[in-house]
């Protein structure tokens, strides 16, 4: 097993920083997913860990040993590539045994290990075939086998499922999770697919423009996004973000914008009176975040009548309406509906169980529980939490992030 530490790693291409001062501490046996949009630096970071490119700054340690200047073959890491990178001129057996032959392992041992790995991955019947004679899923398993055969300290995977169809991707996702559980090795997995991140990871590191936005368990990054970027990146559809201002009314903090007045469940007086007699939070420009599944349809009224969500079979509850707007369009996803509503100048998405009785063109009123609201600083995008007498920008969980 391997503990992998990334210390303040930066990678420059000319003047541009593909990875910008990222630090990570990945424990033995952890399944860490590097998640982010295309071009965020996640693959570059993985390749730096693998030893395929040198960091411009910073250090990489494997089990406490500085491997920054050690070539890839000396790091005891195996990698599965997005394209699988199988050697086209070699059979499956020789592909799997390739790393062992490179290390001059005896032929008999190579054969034995290849047979063992092929057994684990259900490839025994395919050992004499060449990669071009295999399906995408089989190729993917051969690539895994080649990584598995030399029993490395950690596995690095660069979007290994992106070339598979949806059905096979789901099945292989489960297989990789099972493999991680069985081997207990460290896995670092790069993906832009949040479903893969949420379902496979023990921790997720979200990257944006080369910087680490947040690292935490899938639940933490989903429920307590450290920034508006993380909030908008995770979730399908993503979290609704509305520009608003903080207002104190009747001793309660509200997020207010045109057609929006959301009580945040924070009693200013109870939290402590401001020292200078004024409310420092009042008038502060923020972004209000509410996930589509946390918006409750209070009423939807159109030409054909009104709809109360409690009657429509959805799990929504009626409450005081805090957002009012018009339904622009409704997407039918089978088990649920996504309503795209125009509220003020912003489009807000609402997820509701079918049939929710929502119709395009109808007026809609929505509510949200205070505990389901998120506040972000409008300038920095960082998450805001209420502390004794004023909202402050807080660092994300565990790892400091420069804003």
């Amino acid at each position: 097993m391997s503990r992998i530490t990334v210390e303040n790693v930066t990678r420059r291409y000319g003047g541009a920083k593909a990875v910008d001062g990222v630090s990570l501490d990945i424990a033995d046996g952890e399944f860490l997913v590097l998640l982010g949009p295309s071009g965020c630096g996640k693959s570059t970071l993985l390749r730096a860990i693998a030893g395929l490119l040198a960091p411009s700054e910073g250090r990489i340690l494997v089990d406490g040993r500085d491997v920054t200047d050690i070539p890839a073959r000396g790091r005891d890491l195996a990698m599965v590539f997005q394209s699988y990178a199988l050697y086209p001129h070699l059979t499956v057996a020789r592909n799997i045994g390739f790393p062992l032959r490179a290390r001059r392992v005896r032929r008999a041992d190579v054969r034995r290990r290849v047979a063992e790995v092929a057994e684990i991955l259900d490839l025994s019947a395919l050992l004499d075939r060449r990669p071009r004679e295999l399906s995408g899923g089989q190729r993917q398993r051969v690539a895994l086998g080649r990584a598995l055969v030399r029993d490395p300290g950690a596995f690095l995977m660069d979007e290994p499922l992106s070339n598979l169809d949806a059905q096979l991707r789901t099945a292989t996702r489960t297989e990789i999770t099972e493999l991680h559980r069985r081997l207990g090795r460290t896995f670092i997995y790069v993906t832009h697919d949040q479903v893969e991140a949420m379902t496979m990871a023990t921790r997720v590191a979200v990257l944006n423009r080369g910087r680490l936005e947040q690292i935490g368990s899938p639940t933490e990054v989903y429920d307590q996004p450290a920034s508006a970027f993380v909030a908008a990146f995770l979730g399908s559809p993503p979290m609704n973000l509305l520009d608003a201002e903080l207002v104190t009314r009747d001793g309660q903090l509200h997020a207010v914008a045109p057609q929006v007045d959301v009580p945040l469940g924070i009693r200013v007086a109870a939290a402590g009176a401001p020292r200078d007699g004024g409310d420092p939070a009042a008038g502060r420009a923020i972004q209000l975040g509410i996930r589509p599944e946390h918006l409750l349809v209070t009423s939807a009224t159109g030409g054909t009548g009104s709809t109360d969500s409690t009657d429509s079979g959805s799990a929504h509850e009626t409450g005081p309406a805090v957002l009012r707007g018009t339904i622009r369009t409704v997407e039918n996803l089978g088990s649920e509906e996504i309503a795209h509503c125009v509220i003020g100048a912003t489009e807000v998405r609402v997820r509701a169980r079918r049939p929710a009785g929502l119709t395009a063109g109808d007026a809609i009123a929505l509510s949200a529980r205070p505990e389901h609201t998120h506040l972000f600083d409008r300038d920095s995008g960082r998450r805001l939490v209420w502390q004794s007498d004023q909202p402050v920008s807080v660092p994300p969980a565990r790892v400091p992030v420069t804003t």
């Binding site: 890491l77 997005q82 990178a85 001129h89 790393p99 080649r146």
Partner: protein
């Protein structure tokens, strides 16, 4: 009462688009070239092909005519005769000429191939200071005319005592800028992930070249090998300078045969030339598939 399938059946649903395509199918292929253009294209290519093949055919046809029929213009050489071949073999030491030429061509081509692989791999895969400048300088030597380097090379061979030896013919030609240029294109387009996978799997750069890159570029290497071999095989001027003997390699031998006869003995001459071409044909036939693949991929077809 019976259960009925709602809407059109699958069979009906499939038939409709097929019928629509059938109706649209005319003389022209949608989005493609018309049949007339296709026929014109094929006829043009066939004529060009015939124009290329005809001189070779005429050479063998002449060599197979009876000595008295050499100047006949009938397309078919009838009756056949191997008299010209017998005369050519009597006049020329063909076995030794073939052996020498094969040795020179094979060693030159092998040397060029080896140096081209190493140089092209370095230029394609490694990053080092002044790489682009060095590459341009390297490839630029291709543009230097032979006549410019001929005399310095000749003087150098004289000083090294390599004049009049086959080694003297081979050594100055061991590097081919054309080979580096062509192979670099192939190495550049070689999947980088395969090279990275080999690094992760424990291969050194040297080992990656021979165990991953070269086996996967056999087509390109075969194409280049045959090109280099044919170039070396057909070389006349440089061997003529270095060897200073008329009977060392095939091209010099044929020329000497042409000059030695008072009358123009076209029959034995074409027979000797025909024999000189056979090894090239054999090599091409053996590597045909790789050669075509290699040229197609390098855009040189």
């Amino acid at each position: 009462m019976a259960l009925a399938i709602e809407g059109p059946t699958a069979e009906q649903a499939v038939l409709e688009p097929v019928a629509a395509i059938a109706a649209a199918d005319g003389d022209d292929i949608p989005g493609g070239r018309s049949r007339v253009m296709t026929v014109v294209g094929h006829v043009t290519l066939a004529l060009l092909g015939l124009a290329c093949v005809f001189p070779i055919y005429w050479m063998y046809a002449t060599s197979l005519r009876r000595p008295d029929d050499v100047y006949k213009t009938s397309v078919l050489p009838w009756p056949l005769s191997v008299g010209s071949y017998r005369d050519a073999l009597d006049e020329l030491d063909l076995a030794r000429l073939l052996l020498n030429t094969t040795m020179v061509a094979a060693l030159t081509a092998l040397g060029q191939l080896l140096t081209s692989i190493l140089a092209a791999y370095a230029f394609a895969v490694w990053n080092f200071p002044l790489k682009r400048l060095l590459y341009l300088a390297f490839v630029g030597t291709w543009l230097v005319p032979f006549q410019v380097t001929m005399l310095p090379n000749y003087v150098l061979l004289h000083q090294l005592g390599l004049l009049n030896t086959l080694t003297g013919v081979i050594v100055p030609n061991l590097v081919s800028a054309l080979g580096v240029l062509l192979l670099r294109q192939h190495f550049d387009s070689f999947p980088k992930e395969l090279l990275e996978a080999a690094r992760i799997d424990g291969r050194s750069s040297w080992s990656t070249l021979w165990t991953v890159v070269v086996p996967n570029l056999r087509a390109a290497l075969s194409a280049l090998a045959i090109l280099l071999f044919v170039n070396a095989w057909n070389e006349y001027f440089w061997p003529a300078m270095v060897l200073q003997r008329d009977n060392s390699v095939l091209q010099l031998g044929i020329n000497s045969f042409l000059n030695s006869t008072e009358v123009e003995a076209w029959g034995p001459l074409t027979a000797a030339a025909g024999l000189a071409c056979l090894p090239i044909f054999a090599l091409y036939l053996a590597l045909q598939r790789q050669v075509i693949n290699g040229f197609v991929r390098s855009g040189l077809r």
